[in-house]
């Protein structure tokens, strides 16, 4: 029996259809469909449990040890991390970096997605290739390329000096501005791909209808296109936020170590001083704080979508 057959056989075996515990008719069909879906999802669920949940539980367990040798259980690592005001600054800076990157990718990416909608299918393919191209390069290479662009003797500074705009090179590397600029480019595909996927399914007649009813282009944008593209926008924001807050290589190579974010603290505690309980606390703080913002963003996304349907 093939698994695919099970998936398409919602009625299930006749012998199991009664018994009084199972719903009848349409409800029973739904039950067997659900069961078949679970069978299909089982391998992935098991892999998820073994490869994600188990290490996560191990991480939680490790955080409840006091010493770097992991011998003495206790809350000392939590107390040490959250008893230090510097930790709150690091968490806030990490989340702010994510939000700034999200804002920048939306500001640059949304107009690009609008342009994409108006292009011919052939040009859309070209633009899509250009959007995906950075993803084909290693993030390390992309990050180091930004050193060449933003450096003291880099392309931007040399260009501005040649134009006579500045007489001394600007400090762009090892600043948050430089980091946000580079993360915007590095994370851009994560914003654009879901956005384009949703926007390309929008009915072009809606824009015409809006114009025919007398709405200006801006009004059409804000009352028709933006609300309809909200699911893609929210998905893009979530991906960019999660990726930029955890982008250790970009944060440390472009931002330097004066800009301290949670991934740097985790790296230092786990691989430099080997205090794994403290590294576990920092990791869980990153997971929880990022998930909280992601939950808030998806709640806003759902609310706006309900508002639209209502």
């Amino acid at each position: 029996m093939s698994i695919s057959t099970v998936a398409h056989d919602p009625s299930g075996p006749p012998s199991k259809r009664n018994g009084g515990h199972l719903p009848s008719g349409a409800g029973e069909a739904r039950f067997w469909t659900k069961l078949a879906e679970w069978q299909l999802a089982l391998p992935l669920s098991l892999a998820f449990a073994a490869l994600f949940l188990a290490p996560l539980l191990l991480l939680v367990a490790t955080s409840f040890f006091n010493d770097d040798k992991i011998t003495e259980p206790g809350f000392a690592s939590w107390v040490k991390f959250f008893g230090d005001p510097f930790s709150y600054k690091v968490i806030a800076d990490t989340l702010l970096l994510g939000l700034k990157t999200v804002c920048a990718t939306v500001i640059v990416g949304y107009p690009l997605a609008l342009v994409f909608m108006d292009l011919s299918p052939r040009l859309q393919k070209v633009l899509l290739f250009i959007i995906i191209m950075p993803m084909l390069l290693s993030v390390v290479v992309r990050t180091f390329a930004w050193i060449v662009v933003l450096g003291r003797e880099g392309v931007v500074n040399q260009g501005l000096m040649w134009l006579g705009v500045i007489s001394e090179p600007l400090r762009l590397l090892q600043t948050e501005l430089g980091l946000v600029i580079s993360l915007t480019q590095i994370e851009m595909p994560l914003m654009l791909l879901p956005l384009i996927s949703v926007m390309s399914r929008l009915d072009p007649n809606l824009r015409d209808a809006s114009a025919a009813l007398g709405a200006s282009r801006w009004r059409t944008l804000f009352t028709v296109i933006v609300p309809l593209s909200a699911p893609g926008l929210v998905a893009g924001c979530l991906l960019v936020f999660a990726s930029s807050t955890t982008a250790f290589i970009s944060q440390t190579v472009i931002g330097g170590v004066r800009l301290i974010y949670l991934p740097l603290v985790i790296w230092q505690q786990s691989l430099v001083v080997y205090h794994w309980p403290l590294a576990a606390v920092a990791s869980l703080s990153l997971v929880v704080s990022v998930l909280t913002v992601i939950a808030a963003l998806s709640y806003l996304g759902r609310r706006s979508s309900r508002h639209l349907q209502g």
């Binding site: 770097d68 180091f144 003797e153 090892q174 440390t252 190579v253 170590v257 691989l271 430099v272 001083v273």
Partner: protein
């Protein structure tokens, strides 16, 4: 496409079979050794691996990892080491000894033992290279600094690139800087106080691995580093010179250790014997690798800051058994003092 039991079993069998492939390769005779990324990796891949294959028919598989990462991975593996041989600096070496990560080392198994100066082996490993730490600067942009103190003065400070306590060379340099302002081997606070005073002027504060790249790109023109990084940058055409600070350059030895529980003990000894042998040491001393040799029969390169290994006894050396317990707090302090 249907996904039936038979194709599932075939897939699982194929995957299971594939997992035996490394074991088959292993059986031929190999050793998995760590190496530092960059020059070390290039040198060991190009020079040492072919020599080992030719001499002992052993395949050398290199795992490029910084010293700290090696210790982290070995600790995480809990008794099943992911490699057979470590290459470490003094600080991580002590962490490895304390963590019981090394096999007891039997120096008598090294045929080239007699070629090493006395004290270059112990019961945990063998010295394979020396390192000298001092100041690197761009002679086209800055005059030569005389010592650590100059780094905090104009014109050097505004072109200075610094790194924290994550590495041996970073920690050693900050200790020496601290000594100038009343600090000591165990007190680096004066260095952090002085650095904080000039922090807005400092050109770059980066991760150790990023520093050569930042120097190459002109983001900073003076930094503390080792002779090997200077030689490597020079080899790439970068304008860079090494300065031995007037209070003395810092020196330490890089050591190799056999991982506890390795299945390739004999191959590991053969590898270590080859690494300290004249042929490998001589090849590694030459450009573009520029290693400082430990074999007595191999002369030092002409542009090294010393004429012989004996001269290194007069250089500054640090006791890492005293530094290690303090380093976590130093890193934390560096984060807080340097954070924007």
């Amino acid at each position: 496409m249907t996904f039936n039991r038979r194709s599932l079993l075939a897939g699982v069998t194929a995957l299971g079979g594939a997992s035996f492939l490394p074991t088959i390769a292993h059986a031929k005779g190999q050793v998995i050794a760590t190496t530092y990324p960059g020059t070390w990796e290039d040198a060991y891949r190009t020079v040492v691996a072919p020599m080992l294959k030719k001499k002992d028919d052993i395949d050398l598989e290199l795992a490029p990892l910084f010293a700290m990462d090696q210790i982290g991975k070995a600790k995480a593996a809990r008794g099943a080491p992911p490699f057979d041989v470590f290459v470490l600096d003094p600080g991580p070496r002590i962490v490895g000894i304390e963590g019981g990560l090394f096999e007891k080392f039997d120096a008598k198994k090294l045929g080239n033992l007699g070629k090493l100066p006395a004290g270059f082996t112990d019961d945990v490993g063998v010295h394979v290279s020396a390192q000298v730490v001092g100041i690197a600067y761009n002679p086209k942009k800055l005059p030569a600094p005389k010592g650590w103190g100059d780094l905090l003065k104009d014109p050097w400070v505004s072109r200075l690139g610094i790194t924290g306590f994550q590495t041996t060379f970073g920690t050693s340099s900050l200790i020496e800087l601290s000594k100038l302002f009343g600090g000591s081997l165990t007190n680096v606070d004066p260095a952090l106080v002085e650095l904080k005073k000039v922090l807005p002027k400092i050109a770059a504060v980066g991760l150790p691995a990023a520093m050569p790249g930042l120097f190459q790109q002109g983001q900073c023109d003076v930094m503390y580093t080792n002779t090997q990084t200077v030689a490597t940058l020079k080899g790439k055409g970068v304008d860079v010179e090494f300065v031995k600070p007037e209070s003395g350059a810092i020196t330490f030895f890089t050591t190799m250790h056999i991982a506890k529980g390795t299945g390739d003990l004999e191959n590991a000894y053969k590898y270590l014997d080859l690494v300290i042998g004249k042929e490998a040491q001589e090849a590694l001393t030459k450009p573009p690798y520029n290693f400082l040799p430990v074999n007595k029969d191999v002369p030092l390169a002409a542009d090294m800051p010393m004429k012989s290994l004996d001269e290194m006894a007069s250089y500054v050396q640090h006791d890492w058994a005293k530094i290690n317990p303090l380093r976590a707090a130093w890193i934390e302090k560096f984060n807080k003092e340097m954070a924007k």
